[in-house]
Amino acid sequence: MIVALNVGLVALILGLAVWAIVAREPFAAVVGFIAYGLLLTLVWVQLHGIDVALTEAAIGGGLTGALLIGAATRLRGTEAEARAERPGPATRWLAAAVSVAVTLALAACVLVLPVPAPTLAPEVAAHMAATEVGNPITSVLLAFRAMDTLLEAIVLLFALIGVWSLTPDRFWGGRPGLRQGYDANGILAYAARLLPPIGIVAGIYIFWVGADRPGGKFQGATILAAMWLLVMMAGLADAPPIRRTWLRALLVAGPLAFIAVGLVGAVRAGAFLAYPPGLAKPLILAIEFALMPTLTLILGLMLVGTPQRGDTP
């Protein structure tokens, strides 16, 4: 029974993947991609990777999907032009051949893996007690591979700077996004008043349980960012001008705190990002608390986009 369900799931995912590639309309392709992300979440649940499933649902399907919808809407004006300069059959066959070759190479790599596959899981399990964190994923992300997580946070910051760098000169420092109309009796304003209290509790809960159970700052921050976006879309609150000092301070606070903890480790424990014995859990929590507002702001502002008006509301 479960096998039949899994086979159906895989068939659906492959079908959606093909659809996202061959769909003529960018918008249709994006819709296919979002559904693909949500089904992939179910696959991760089936593989007992709840942390990955949460991330895939929040960031892979949700946030990336929303970013792509924005991109598809903006590309709508140029679609006819793009279709006119369609590459010739030779280019398309070449692209298809390269894609198929990459897929086959990846499949071959997976198939030639020895059984059981090489894994560091026993090492993690053996040393997890040292981090005093109950969730193995969190101890990998914030202790054994903390460098990756630090670079990830910095990459996100660079992504936001990349988005901002597309700002027209006259709007530099202004409020991002277009001004949203506010309809006091509108359904969006209603949802934006009803949903955030629930969403904020859920987001902070997912962030907090990340230490011991599936969850964490990325998933929690995505939910908080979604609530913020909902409030902004309904016109209940406006996006802050990007020249604000508090905004910029909060944006760099997370990575800076992370680096500071790393330097403490370099002095006290002998290596960058090493935690002094006994202080692992408080330091991990400090990093998580510092990163949470930064991530929420970065994810929300990345979706709002470039400043398109001046400082005035």
Binding site: I187, L188, Y190, A191, L194, L195, I198
Partner: protein, 97 residues
């Protein structure tokens, strides 16, 4: 007793699945966007409601049951909001209601 509870679950979940099927058929077959929205909301509200109702006796705990009910309410809220927004967007663009 347990047999009766299981039977209830099977019937309720099957009825929920039927509403999802009917909603999908409506989405594919109805002539315009407004009737398609109508079909979709039926699937969301009734279909998911019946599935949740069927699963309630199986979760073995009040908290887990409450979570299921909360999920149903949240899906209803987001479904109602999204369908209202789509319908309004269509009206503004001049589609006949």
């Amino acid at each position: 007793m347990s047999l009766a509870v299981d039977l209830f679950s099977v019937i309720a979940v099957a009825a929920g699945a039927f509403f999802f099927l009917a909603g999908t058929a409506g989405l594919l077959r109805f002539p315009d966007a407004f009737t398609r929205l109508h079909a979709l909301t039926k699937a969301d509200n009734l279909g998911l409601g019946l599935v949740v109702l069927g699963l309630l006796p199986q979760v073995g705990g009040v908290v887990a049951g409450l979570k299921l009910v909360c999920i149903w309410l949240l899906v209803q809220l987001s479904g109602a909001t999204a369908s209202q927004l789509i319908a309004r967007g269509l009206r503004r663009r001049g589609a006949p209601p």
